[in-house]
Symmetry: C2
Subunit: 599 residues, 2 copies
């Protein structure tokens, strides 16, 4: 069996196109916060991770999958390549890249960092996971921690001398974070004693750094039930000893999960305070733990979406490579068995599978970048109104940017396997590995079902509908831009009409909620998420098609590919919006009213 040639992971020309032509990264340099940056510093940042992804991450992709970490005597040993990947990222300053110079960062826009990170996610998503967790744990301390906590841990995390975790989930509570039972009791000296069990803690134990900093949600003694009673604690694996040095902090790894994908990144069960000696430090205010943790959860959601888009993209590129190389069969008109066989890319159905992957992968990546750009504007736009508007849009797009790449990305990765024929299900080729990795993305950091409820139940009806109207305006601008760029007016009209449909539907559903019937409003939240996502990706394809038409210096084949992918999405997927909206509107009741005993 052939060993695949190096996969380029992402197409550089396309990433540059998305970053600069579609999402106008350098415009951000006009904002004071990014004033030190320009196209050159952006290209350096992207170029650095491109190289790292290809030279360090991707070569270890199969090896790290084949030898997942095991728990031995309470310790978890990482694959050596996992250590090397993290070290290289830390050395390149990636962990604090988006953070302010005041904390040792580079003030790089999240937009640019997201594009750069997509390469390492494509090359080895499990290897990229620890870095994301470490950055965001430090970011929580930066935002909400005391000066003492910042001094002790924040910089250590940003410099990669420690790694971070998000320790939220408990075995009985899953997504229902208001129901956690881990307890923190005041020790009287300003510290707390933490006791409880957590599960699914990525990077919760390993031998990469001595220090691991757990960001733990716990309930303080006597706190009210539910989300209001949850606080955030910083709980290191080892704490400082009175006489200098460090001692174990009574955090025990009790199990390692065996996973279908992301196998190299240990996902563990942790027990805090078995001996009553687990010290924790309150981060921010008591009772604000969940609200504060949403900073990390939202970043992680967009991060998962970016990783999912990258995973779909890498599989897609591998499928293209295979389809161009592999010969089999002949054209439909060939009647002579002595004709040479043709590359399978010549078959219409193979081209269909490739174009569908392209539409999903590049559409998803573009959507994630649009979301990342809003994160930049929501914090650093000069005008307060613009910041508010960007925040609405960021909040609205986060569940979409998380779930679309995960759900449709899984479909794309499935098609990459399919293009490989029987070889696709063997480990002689890589698509089955990207497929397995992708399966986690619809589950971790909030399942797709949670994203649907978040979108329709909160985000789409936020600010009395102003958030959604802001979204509608952005779509209208894109459609207008598409018309002026010379795209078929049918495409732009279809986008506008679909967006109108979304707005009308949302208000209709919201009115049911306001009338006291949340079930009728939310019964089809999955269909709503699907149709909303479909329109968002259509928006991204109109943006890309318009930019491709306008951009100078792009070769014809590249432009043609973008236009065809846009056409494909608008013709094949956008028409589904009406039917999905009808299901929401009619409150089609097949499953809603189903008795558990009828399954």
């Amino acid at each position: 069996m052939a060993t695949p040639d190096p996969n380029p992971l992402l197409v550089d020309r396309d990433v540059d196109f998305l970053l600069h032509d579609v999402h106008r990264a350098t415009e951000l340099c006009a904002l004071p916060h990014f004033a030190a940056h320009d196209r050159e510093t952006f290209d350096l940042a992207v170029g650095s991770l491109r190289r790292i992804a290809r030279e360090v991450f991707f070569p270890s992709f199969r090896a790290t999958d084949l030898a997942p970490p095991q728990l031995r005597d309470g310790a978890v040993e990482l694959h050596p390549a996992m250590k090397r990947m993290f070290a290289v990222l830390a050395e390149a300053g990636v962990l604090a890249a988006t953070r302010p110079e005041s904390v040792g960062g580079q003030q790089l826009p999240t937009l640019v960092a997201t594009a750069a990170n997509a390469y390492v996610c494509a090359g080895n998503a499990a290897g990229a996971g620890l870095a994301m967790l470490t950055t965001e744990a430090a970011h929580l301390l930066e935002s909400f921690g005391s000066n003492a906590l910042k001094a002790r841990w924040m910089t250590a995390l940003y410099e990669g001398r420690a790694t971070g975790t998000m320790a939220l989930t408990e075995p009985h509570a899953g997504s229902s974070l208001g129901d956690i039972t881990t307890i923190a009791s005041p020790a009287g000296d300003g510290t707390w004693r933490v006791r409880g069990a957590k599960i699914f803690i990525s990077g919760g134990e390993h031998d990469l750094t001595d220090d691991i900093v757990h960001m733990v949600l716990a309930r303080t003694d006597g706190a009210p039930a539910g989300a209001r009673g949850v606080s955030l604690f910083c709980v290191p694996k080892r704490r400082d000893a009175d006489g200098g040095g460090t001692v174990p902090n009574d955090v025990t790894c009790t199990g390692v999960l065996h996973k279908i994908g992301w196998r190299a990144l240990p996902s563990v069960a942790l027990s805090f305070g078995d001996r009553g000696d687990c010290h924790g430090w309150l981060v921010g205010d008591e009772g604000r733990g969940l609200a504060q943790m949403f900073q990390m959860m939202n970043a992680a959601r967009v991060g998962v979406g970016a990783s999912a888009a990258a995973t779909a993209y890498a599989g897609y590129r591998e499928a293209v490579r295979y389809a161009v190389d592999r010969t089999q069969g002949r054209g439909l008109r060939s009647r002579d068995a002595k004709d040479p066989q043709v590359p399978i890319v010549a078959h219409a159905d193979v081209r269909r599978m490739l174009l569908r992957q392209k539409a999903i992968a590049e559409g998803a990546l573009s959507l994630v970048l649009a979301t990342a750009r809003l994160a930049d504007l929501s914090e650093h736009a000069v005008d307060a109104t613009e910041r508010t508007r960007a925040r609405w849009l960021l909040d609205l797009l986060t569940p979409v940017a998380k779930s679309f790449p995960a759900e449709r990305g899984f479909e794309a990765n499935t098609l990459a396997v399919q293009v490989h024929g029987g070889y696709g299900y063997t480990s002689e080729y890589l698509p089955e590995l990207w497929l397995r990795d992708q399966k986690l993305n619809s589950l971790h950091e909030g399942t797709t079902g949670i994203q649907g409820l978040d979108l329709l139940g909160r985000k789409a009806v936020a600010a009395n509908g102003e958030a959604l109207q802001a979204w509608r305006s952005v779509i209208a601008e894109a459609a207008a831009d598409g018309r002026s760029a010379g795209l078929p007016s049918a495409w732009c009209d279809a986008l506008d009409e679909a967006a109108d449909e979304v707005v009308a539907l949302t208000f209709e559903l919201a009115s049911r909620g306001l009338a006291g019937d949340p079930e009728a409003m939310l019964a089809h939240s999955a269909d709503y998420l699907e149709l909303f996502s479909t329109v968002c990706v259509a928006w991204q394809w109109v943006l890309q098609a318009a930019a491709a038409k306008r951009a100078q210096g792009l070769d014809e084949a590249f432009v043609d590919g973008k236009l065809r992918a846009a056409q494909y999405w608008l013709r094949t997927e956008l028409p589904r919006v009406k039917a999905l909206a009808a299901l929401c509107r009619d409150a089609e009741d097949s499953y809603v009213g189903m008795h558990p005993g009828s399954f």
Copy 2:
């Protein structure tokens, strides 16, 4: 982590309902060929495999996945459980169950055997694979082999003293069987010398039986290029020695593939005649190899569909079990965090995921059973016209019964993982294993793309449209039956309209082919397969809903579940037919005209 309770695999009441109320199995007993059978013998056959599936197959499901066979010194050692599963099936007479009494069989209808086999496929698909291959290899000898070959091998296979393979695929040719290069040269004594390499040969080497009988496609010396030059040979692993006993027949196992699923069943690369001493025996006529092999391939395709339906079904049942047990979160109206958490089946989106799985899994199984019933009628109906009609329908439904359960079944298995939340991607639970197993089914025995071309390019236009008109009549009967059973007329009308749409579309596309433009006819064969399949499954749901309404003694919850699944499919999926038909009709050209360099 909890160990799952035993999974019932399939719901017995439902299998009985499908077999008897929907597909009227006992009506077959009116045919002379099945005259020895009655409800009791059918129930015995199904009951036997039910028990075997639960007591022998399912308990080894995880264990056989965890320890896939390895190649050592040219030999492949099976997991002991694989040997036990095959032995139990052989002992129960399953291998020859559908074959005539004259060859040692039970003359059991394929319909009944398929329902019974679904249990073992649900319990351990890899374990069931060897039996299917063995039955169909013997069946090839029964149909086309000389008396000598039958005497030497057929009975050995039917009794499980040997196992069979289908040795078709070669590394360079894949699905393009006309391009194989394995050569058979006459030895002058009535035998042939075979030389060539095959790949993806399931069960091609193992230590379960001494004898393995390979059914090999090869090209005879001087044969014309393409499919016409391909002949079928029986090539045993060991051949009879002149002085008695057996000697190795120069068949070498050169590799074992590592697969994402069906891991316990070795899929190997074989080399025939490295030493010029591989003896083969011609089966049937020279140049008829491919035509004859289609008997096995078609049976294997429906067999894969049955296995895929069973795999989806088992995952679905596991998801139901989990959703009823697992508590998490509260109703949308709950504002009190002290309320107890509810079972997740209470959440609308979980019910949606379950009902979608039900609609797919039970719809797929019903479709496979309809196809199996046609296999019985095509051979054993008394009236020649009825046999011809059944053959048309069987041919037409085969690509659908193969691909729908594989493609949508994969989606169902993905939802079973999703219902399990984060646990879904861990190997502490079984859905990830059914998901991995399912991934093979869209690839082996003809990819979905091949099925689409077969359906639209051959089957739907067979017999000058008479085959399709026969299908249309069957759908009309079902719709009429639904009306008389009291189903909503909107459902039955929608089914009729969709079927009309299919017929009109098919004739329009066929006219393009007749006009000399096969590309325009077949460009959207995947969309055609999708819409055709959607209508076929809608047909099955109308049949099931009507039968549920009519049947006596079924509990209300069961009937309600069938009606809701029917409603779900008709409301959610059937409306997609129009949009898909538009893509076919308009010959939407995004990917068709795409240059390889534009991907």
